[in-house]
Amino acid sequence: MTAQLDRERRTPQVSAGTATTSAGTTPAPRRRRSGAITTRRHGLRCWGVMALLGGLSVFFTAGILSYDNPMPFGSDGYWLIAGMRVETVLVIGVVVFCQAMATMAFQTATNNRIITPSIMGFESLYVAIQTGAVFFFGIAGITLVTGLPQFLMQAAAMVLFATTLYSWLLSGRFSNIHIMLLVGVVIGGGLGSLSTFMQRVLTPSEFDVLTARLFGNIGNARAEYLPYAIPIALAAAGALWWRARRLDVVALGRSTADNLGVNHRREVMIILTLVSVLMAMSTSLVGPMTFLGFLVATLAYQFADTYSHRMLFPMAMLIGYTVLAGAYFIMRNIFYAQGAVTLIIELIGGVVFLIVLMRKGRL
């Protein structure tokens, strides 16, 4: 009874405008609105961070293209060298694009913000294919897995592997995402051990050639695959972008999504297939990049602080591009060690990640 009276007393206030939470603002009726951006401050912070990252991205891109160019500015030679470096920028772009979208979508589908798609054994499969080629055919074997048909087949193998796993484990009597992840981890671990075993038996020179292929390496990327990787990645990412609002609902978990009329199981399978396409593109281009996706996704959640994938995706891509392009630029032009980009990502990225986590106190 008291609650009812209390309510009746409050109702006129409600219609006149809700009590403002922040003191000092004008008492004009606040428009009650839902949406991805909660407050003015939140919006400003989001767009501010995006603008800053955009600026940094442009800065690093310009740096990679023009820094340490031996030819005088404006000459034909200058543009020739800059043009050759565009390839690097494109590789960085594609890798970040794939990793950011794939990790975020994967974490949404699995309802978990700690694991990344690499847990599913994509990278182990890549390593196993490469190692197997060298193991069975010697150094010549590496040329067997290089080339356009091989690239497409390797990508197809990874997508097939992943989709078979999902459809088997998500539609059968298990229909449980945790079992699927566990099986993925076990298979990934098995493939990893197999690769390690084969690597033990290789001669030092074979091992050396192989190692060069297995480190995430921007400068040494197979750029000849780019004309195929870019449209495939764009198509997969476009499909994810188109489903972004459904992804927002899938992120709420199975029963809530089903209640809201989104077929959770089907959505998850579609998302995971698209993720495997993106991961296959990235891995085939530059090899394993375990930490990048995780770092980028975690930072994007922190900075964007919203449920909307239409905001999280661009934020993750900008963060990723800034991190990877920045790391590449610094390693190449300051330490003259362009091969070891993953080193700086894991070092600096890890530190930034810990700082952000400590300050916010939540994932």
């Binding site: 809700t18 009650r32 609105r33 839902s34 978990n112 609002r245 459904r246 809201l260």
Partner: protein, 256 residues
């Protein structure tokens, strides 16, 4: 009307001999008012509720809500007719109360909120007295406030049928009573049909129009609170000696 025809669900390994079965359940839940599902632990209350809400597959039988077969109708159609709230709700996504309630409009707007959606959201928030809290994040709320936010979400979905699985879980005396009063108003003022799993028979007797008692996977009693609130009936359902006394606000089951 919600109508169940010979609905069964089997748990456990098939052919192992020790399967736990729910059903066959055949029952009609009338439209309008609050229907409470009561019974001892493991009686199958939540199973039946989640099957009506098509979150759990039916092994055999048929469930219809307002003439729609919940298994075969498109999920999106069902989402405009019935909404269901489960016991455990935990979101990885960080949401404000208003954003959460806004998700309740998804079946109608597919994520693009219109003026009409905003109005429904505001109404649901006001209805559950969350107006002052609508900008807060869920992790900044107490358990009772959060529970109210979840209920506001399913009310914003604006469905004729609302299924709630133990919404009084983890609520203290005051909040449990408030929650039931708000649900009562939702049924009376908004004309919703509410089906609710309750643990406390006294809450069921006080606030519901119909009580459906389950035991060992089947419906054993179905009737008005007056018909169910009998010593013999309750003792049989709960396997405990229950005495019904006349309390100041209606019959009261004493079992301790």
């Amino acid at each position: 009307m919600i109508s169940l025809t010979e609905v069964t669900k089997n748990y456990g390994a098939a052919g192992a001999g020790d399967t736990v079965a729910i059903g066959p359940v055949s029952v009609d839940i009338p439209a309008g008012g609050i229907t409470a599902l009561v019974g001892p632990n493991g009686a199958g209350k939540s199973t039946i509720l989640t099957m009506i809400g098509r979150l759990l597959d039916v092994d055999s039988g048929r469930i219809e809500v307002a003439g729609h077969d919940v298994v075969n109708s498109p999920s999106r159609t069902i989402a405009k007719i019935l909404s269901i709230l489960r016991q455990e709700n935990h979101f990885v996504t960080r949401l404000t109360v208003r954003q959460l309630v806004g998700f309740g409009r998804y079946p109608h707007s597919q994520g693009r909120l219109t003026q009409d959606d905003e109005r429904h959201i505001s109404e649901a928030i006001d209805f559950l007295d969350l107006t002052a809290l609508e900008g807060r994040y869920l992790d900044q709320l107490s358990g009772g406030q959060r529970q109210r936010a979840y209920v506001a979400m399913v009310l914003a979905q604006d469905t004729d049928y609302v299924l709630l699985d133990e919404p009084l879980n983890n609520l203290d005396m005051q909040h449990a009573v408030q929650m039931m009063q708000q649900l009562r108003r939702a049924a009376d003022e908004l004309g919703r049909t509410i089906v609710i799993v309750l643990h406390d028979i006294n809450f069921a007797a006080r606030y519901s129009d119909k009580i459906l008692a389950m035991k060992n996977g089947v419906v054993v009693e179905h009737g008005t609170p007056e018909q169910i609130m009998q010593d013999a009936v309750l003792s049989r359902v709960f396997d405990t000696e229950v005495t019904v006394i006349e309390g100041p606000r209606g019959p009261l089951a004493v079992y301790y």
